[in-house]
């Protein structure tokens, strides 16, 4: 009954949203971007995708894409909470794998390139390029936590189960509207005490070191950085999801811009620019996801 109610609410929200956005500016498609002469890159400082210091793997990719289009590059800072609305003009809320449109907001950018994980609810409001980066959700705990890293079995499903068994009664940090949203992985069913973290994703590891929680959800790129920054103070317990992909997101009203970006990414993969960027910002990722980059030069 509750499920039916949610679906009704979601569909209603979608209708309200569709009508509500009438008259609201859409994210520009390719012609608009070229006419405007600027590509607006929506980004949230996150891992080494957008470092917040003016660089990052996705920042460099988008600068290259702007050059590819022959327009100027502009970085538009946003937040995980607002990033979808800033792209689509719709303020939405994830409801399981669906979304609920809450209203309209001004469009501020043309593209999200921020290590944005493919999630079912996101795919209902934005379109992704081909996957640009592999990821997975891990549970990371403080070093002195009684939780122990699992022994890999070679079966991802059994590994996930082993991790979830250890979550019962543990406090676990998650971040709403991101790939670290605990509900996406049915964490509540494990008996873990979920705490939603309102800070930057980069601060999750320091948060558990500081005792805000015993463990946190982290995607692999961020976990690798945490292990590098705080060695011996955190530990990886194990996976909470299967392997995922990240990509660059566009509003569904920008199909030509999306196609242009896919062409640009193909070119980067062929000429080695893409692999060079990965080596520079995530040299360790090849040890974990070598297959993902097999076809790249």
């Amino acid at each position: 009954m509750k499920t039916n109610f949610s679906k009704i609410m979601t569909c209603g929200g979608l209708l309200i949203g569709l009508f509500g956005v009438a008259g609201v500016t859409f994210a520009g498609d390719l012609a608009d971007v070229k006419q405007r002469g600027v590509l607006r890159h929506l980004g949230v400082p996150y891992a080494n995708f957008v470092t917040g210091a003016g660089d990052g793997m996705d920042v460099e990719l988008m600068k290259g894409f702007a050059g590819y289009l022959g327009v100027r590059y502009e970085y538009v800072p946003t937040s995980w909470k607002d990033v979808i609305g800033d792209l689509t003009g719709k303020k939405v809320k994830a409801v399981g794998e669906d979304i609920e449109v809450l209203g309209t907001v001004p469009v501020k950018g043309d593209v999200i390139a921020n290590g944005l994980t493919f999630l079912p609810w996101r795919q209902k409001i934005v379109t992704y390029t081909t996957p640009t980066f592999p990821t997975q959700i891990w549970v990371m705990a403080r070093a002195d936590s009684p939780m122990t890293p699992i022994q890999p079995t070679g079966d991802i499903g059994r590994d996930i189960s082993a991790v979830k068994k250890q979550l019962r009664g543990r406090t676990l940090l998650g971040v709403a509207n991101t790939c670290l949203e605990p509900s996406l992985y049915r964490v509540a069913e494990t008996g873990a005490v979920v705490k939603m973290f309102n800070g930057n994703l980069n601060e999750l590891a320091p948060a558990i070191i500081n005792g805000d929680a015993e463990a946190t959800l982290l995607d692999v790129p961020d976990a690798l950085i945490a292990l590098e920054k705080w060695p011996g103070r955190v530990k990886v317990i194990g996976p909470l999801s299967e392997e995922q992909g990240m990509g660059i997101a566009f509003a569904k009203t920008s199909p030509e811009l999306l196609a242009a970006c896919n062409r640009f990414l193909d070119q980067c993969r062929k000429d080695g620019v893409y692999l060079e960027l990965v080596r520079r910002y995530y040299p360790a990722v090849f040890e974990y996801y070598r297959e993902f980059f097999t076809n790249d030069r």
Partner: protein, 638 residues
Amino acid sequence: MKPLPVFLKQPKNLVVLSAAAVLTGYVVFLIMANYTSQTDLRRSSVERFLEDEQNLARMIGGFFFERKAGMADLAGSRAIAIYFENKALGMTMAYGLKAGMIGIRKRLETFMGERRLGNDPIYRRILFVDMDGKIIAAAGEAAEVTSEQNRSDLLKSCAEEPCIRVITEGAQQDVVMFAPSRFKGALVGVVAAWMDMETIRRHFLAPADPSVHRRLVLNHEKSAAGILSGLHPDVNILSTESGGMDKPIQASGKPETVTCSAPVEGTPFALQSTAPASRVYGETHPRRLLLATAALGILILGTTIYFVSMNTRNRVLQARLEEAAGREAEIQDKNLALEDYRRNLEQMVEERTLQLKEVQKELLQKATEAGRAQMATVVLHNIGNAVTPAMVHVEQMKTDGLEKISFYLNRCFKDLKAHAADLGGYVTRDPRGKEVLTYTETLLLELEKYKTHRLEVVEKIASALSYVAEILTLEQSYGPAAARMNETVDLNRLMEDALLMQAESIRQRNIHVTKALAAGPVSLKIGKIRLMQTLVNLIRNSCEAMDLMDAPADGRRIDVKTFQENGGTGFEIVDTGIGLETGEAEGLFEFGKSKKGSSGFGLTYCREFVEAHKGSIVLTSPGPGKGTTVRVAFPPSA
């Protein structure tokens, strides 16, 4: 007692002989000292060769010591500790432990990149191996080189401190440095670094002298430093043959090479160096040097005596050479001065030539003016000659008998008037009257005669005036107004005019002139005035040549002729004057030369004028008193 030889009785010879003996002794002493030094030098050279190699072995030992220290630092690095910390936390390679492994690999790569000798890498490969013999991280060359068994043995042998081992894998020998790594006091692995021996060879074993060959050999016996082979029999130093420096090497014969060995402390190696014996001992044996030096000493002594004897002569020669050089320098100075003088002289000649040209030009101008003045004088003279008789006639006309006739006619008229009443009777009867008619007839006749005379006088005056007018016309035609420009003239006409201008002079000298002028006009494009001056000059010269000799009246002759030959034109004036001496003719054309005591410029002027028109002027004479011929000819273009 045997008496001294005669030459020794002279003190000077005795001194020289004594000095020679002392010098010879001194040379012998030097040769022996040199021989002793050479022998010592051979020994010290061998010792130095050994010492140099020992120093190099120490340097290589220091290098390996530093490498060990670096390896110890690497084995205890934080990156390795992090890996084991994560491992201790239970993390697995699948979920997180790889990050630590990557950290170790980065550290190994950094270490490899930083450790270099100049630009050459010290290590080829570095591995971190855990206690299970599993390679955790690797940098550099990736090939597997050691078997599991080898790794296990090595881990045991290097458990306490860094060590150096030579690993043999088939035909391949590698020098590998090991450093144990500990985590919380327990041995957890080993860092193994494969050394790049090419770098070590290039920096330590490649000598500046390519004849020396060095190598590192395994030195399990730990022998002391010493000469292994090649010690010369007569070089007395202690050396080693299989350890220790207590036995001299009993070498025999002449060695080709010398080999020494020096252990490299802290390593299993010894530095073994081989050099050509000639490099260590020198090319020549001291005995040979002794013989050569002795021969040289004798040669020097003999040469010295010879040179002393030659010295005086050389000094004289040197003095002469210096004197000659001084003279040569003096001559060169004088030559330079002469050269300067010559240059100045040339300049002075040029300046004087220029001045002379100016003076000549000025004289030419003056001569032209003088000629013109002369012509004017001639004209005036001619006019005077014409005017004087006219004046005489005028005076005659003033004083002739017209008044007397008039007086008598008046008396006749008065008689007739007195007898007017009986004029018929008076003239028919009166005797006086009868005479009146006769007298009147006589007066009329006188009057007629006077009239005729008057007419003659008037004609003479008119003739004189006509002559004056003609002369004036002539003067005008040759006057300054005609300027100096070239114009076409008739040479015949000019010759006639020139003779006319000189007519009075010719007449006074009672000279007979004959003319043989070419038929028709003889045209010539030339300076008319100057040609006239030339003609007048030459005719006057001919006239004056008559004055210089007392020739009979019938022998005074001037023959002029004009001619046209082969397209050219010219004239010739032949006189019967004083003539010329042989060879005198050419000199007369020079300025200042004259037979009659004048400036001598006339003929100079004539020649310059003729040559200026590319013509020729030639004076010839059969001899003194036999007259002179002047011939002037102009080319067709003139």
